[in-house]
Point group: C2
Chain length 491, copies 2
């Protein structure tokens, strides 16, 4: 197992190597699509289970809608259609046939052309609101609180593991409400569900905010987002929650009899997180030795490695090692006893570090004699000698400590990289030299936003929800502004 390139040397290469060497994902035979390998998928499953639990706790149920959207439905909400038309996979035929010129080969059967083309869903508002039309007749049918776990396709020319792939996995919540206020509240509530999950479960600090109009979801009236900061100083959008107003209910004629007995259009929200969060996870915590996983997401939280010289030591050490792993499992800790007879301890240590296992317990003849074990932390790389009979209590506390420490480390890193600037010169210098979030005044126009983007590649990540009112002048047009927004280069 060759070492990873360092983050300093080449951050992008480090990321790509890490994803592949840690067995998270690999490229597939299909351009732009990846294979999520068992270890990577086990982490995603943990994320999925926790998010799903939170959705259900907040009153949502899952359902499933077709992957295909007929072109005529796709067109119905204009802005949404325009936003996704340029990157969608289109099914035009429903049959292959043998190539008459080469019987081993197949060709598209020209006689099996669809009357209407089908778009592979890039997002499901269109098909779902078309369905809601028959679900919603009266205020008594509201709210509709539905979520879907699904694959979606957005054709990408330049792809990157987890962050940007043509097909990705996600969840998309789609809700319908009686009033504007209720829908707005729902979209804010789900933003908070995301923020809570990403901060406390993934140990990634986020800034809650609102997107500028140009960065809004196509078809939304307002897009709320959570933004995280990666170790290379670039931002990453970790989840979005959209207030759709009545855009989709009008496009799909979803009307209901309200409490006053009048017909009204339902108010909508949609909100999503995706396998992109895997990218955020990897880039927030990992180091040059490999992954660093917060215990709450680690498929294996503790690995117990026996170390013996010769067969005569083996039996006792293995017996004790297995016993420790069992004791941990009884405490609800996911522990693996290493049975690999093939590789040397040094190789194994490096491998478990690469995979981000939060805690490694080692025991050999000396430890058995002294009734202790060696406990190594992946996050700090520190080691301690712990009495064997207290190991399960110690590890229980330690996993909690690690979870908090990883978060705190990321928080300190992020907080040190929010820089207030007051001039465009300063903006460009900070962006170049330090990166991170830049807090600056903006005149509220797309023109200024666009110019900054073109000249620096930085975009407005969000207008933070908890922004303080402050008088200032904007970077380029020098127009008065009453609050700062956050800029950054972003994934």
């Amino acid at each position: 197992m060759a070492k990873l390139i360092s983050r300093k040397e080449d951050y992008n290469k480090w990321y790509n190597e890490l994803v592949q060497k840690a067995d998270l994902a690999e490229n597939s035979g299909v351009r732009g699509c990846m294979v999520i390998k068992p270890y990577g998928f086990a982490i995603w499953e943990k994320m999925k289970d926790e998010l799903d639990r939170k959705f259900k706790e907040t009153g949502h149920t899952n359902a499933y809608f077709p992957i295909f959207i007929p072109k005529s439905l796709f067109e119905a909400e204009e802005k949404n259609a325009e936003g996704f038309a340029k990157e969608c996979a289109v099914v035009t035929h429903y049959r292959l046939k043998n190539d008459p010129g080469n019987p081993q080969k197949l060709i598209v059967d020209p006689e099996a052309r669809l009357e209407e083309e089908l778009v592979v869903r890039p997002t499901s508002e269109a098909i779902i609101w078309n369905t809601y039309k028959s679900w919603i007749q009266s205020y008594r049918d509201l709210p509709v609180l539905v979520n879907q776990w699904a694959n979606v396709v957005r054709w990408e020319m330049r792809t990157r593991f987890f962050l940007r792939t043509s097909e990705f996995l996600w969840q998309e919540g789609h809700t319908a409400h009686e009033t504007r206020e209720e829908a707005l509240e729902e979209s804010k509530k789900m933003l908070e569900v995301y923020a809570d999950f990403v901060e406390n479960f993934m140990a990634i600090p986020v800034i809650r905010g609102i997107k500028s109009p140009s960065e809004r979801f196509a078809g939304a009236e307002e897009t709320f987002c959570i933004e995280a900061l990666m170790q290379d100083g670039k931002a990453l959008q970790a989840g979005t929650s959209h207030f759709l107003g009545q855009n989709f209910s009008k496009a799909f004629e979803v009307k209901f009899l309200n409490r006053e007995g009048k017909l009204d259009h339902a108010w909508g929200t949609s909100w999503g997180t995706s396998t992109r969060l895997m990218g955020a996870l990897i880039m927030t915590h990992s180091d040059d030795r490999g992954l660093v996983l917060p215990p709450s997401l680690a498929p294996i939280q503790v690995v117990v490695v026996p170390i013996f010289k010769g067969e005569d030591q083996r039996e006792e050490i293995e017996k004790m090692g297995r016993k420790i792993a069992e004791r941990l499992e009884k405490k609800g800790i996911s522990a693996k006893f290493d049975t690999d007879k093939h590789n040397k301890p040094g190789w194994k240590f490096a491998e478990y570090e690469l995979k981000g296992i939060p805690v490694r317990i080692t025991l050999g003849a000396k430890e058995i004699e002294n009734k202790v074990v060696e406990v190594a932390r992946r996050d700090t790389l520190s080691k301690e000698i712990i009495p064997m009979d207290t190991v399960d209590a110690y590890i229980t506390t330690l996993l909690d400590t690690i979870q908090k420490n990883i978060y705190k480390k990321a928080l300190n890193y992020r907080n040190a990289r929010i820089t207030e600037v007051n001039t465009y010169e300063e903006f460009k210098r900070v962006l170049e030299e330090k990166g991170g979030f830049i807090s600056a005044h903006w005149d509220g126009t797309e023109k200024e936003e666009e110019q900054i983007k073109n000249e620096t590649k930085a975009t407005i990540r969000c207008i933070p929800l908890e922004v303080k009112s402050e008088t200032g002048i904007s970077l380029i047009s020098k127009t008065p502004s009453d609050k700062r927004v956050l800029f950054a280069k972003a994934y």
Copy 2:
């Protein structure tokens, strides 16, 4: 809520009405694709969770592979390609653009034609074995035990809720092994996992068997299956497990260094169950009043309905009803307290029967006075009066009794509909008058099988695994045969 048509009157119509009225699924705006509604999806989630647990218990891990298969990969295993080519959705373009003649409309952008067409996966052997090529180098990399939960697409001209839809949800296990024996053992083991799940969790008795060559999975050497019997006397294949031999490892050049240091092709299996199981569930247990759900699959196992005349009774009855629901929840029973103020008890009872809730508890002023509740069973439609303070213990036992009773009822029904026949005349008469499985001698040829199918629409469902050796002569060619096989009309 209008009543369902009866099964006797029109079984197909009964099924379609039931699926829609019980809120399991509905048709979508896409031909051949359905929407799985929240109630239906909640049942599917329970099935999924239990199957997933069983897969993990038997050493499998989940992963995710692309939904698209490039045509050239799809072609590689010839039989597999031939088997699915006629019914696959093909992506040919990756962009839409505004229609120059009608700017509100979108058309496929002819300039965004893919160099190579992509098939939407009808099954994933091709893309997965193409991936395994790089995973498998040595016997130490084996076995590979991977499962995927995914959507697949097989273009269907005539569709039916859950049983036959163009898109459906399923799981597909794909394993690779060192030896023929090990792969064969795996495919049998997974058949047993399916049989155990379907019988004990879904309460549907199945017959374990082997498919005749003509009914085999395209690309398999042997297909094992479990076959269930529906209430109209038609069979339904509830799961299949395929021994693939070296067909895919040869097509995709998956070679490994074996224990003797020689290069060998890996041995494969694949196995799948799908949302089709929802159809089996509905058609096995339900009656003219609606769904009958086994408790292990019911999203709500017990509903508590308070009945009061006037507001003065309401408070006490509701308080007691909620308390009962809470006591049940504490026992791990999923209980719903009915808070609907809008509908009459009679309507509610019919609605909960339609939805298949296994147990209904009713309590009113009289019950409160006598410290009892009325307990109604969905499966037998019987009612009992139970002392209030023993209700949680009583219900715990009752749910178990219901689970077993539903299975037993289905088993008796099925067993009464396996008929041994010795002549083709008898075969046709039984098929016409009684239906069910017909146990008969077959000469082992595709010719006889085909003739029977063409003349009667019955197919060989399986050669049962536990078949006794018995000398006889086949139905049409009158050739000696040493065992009976099972025929039936099938979904």
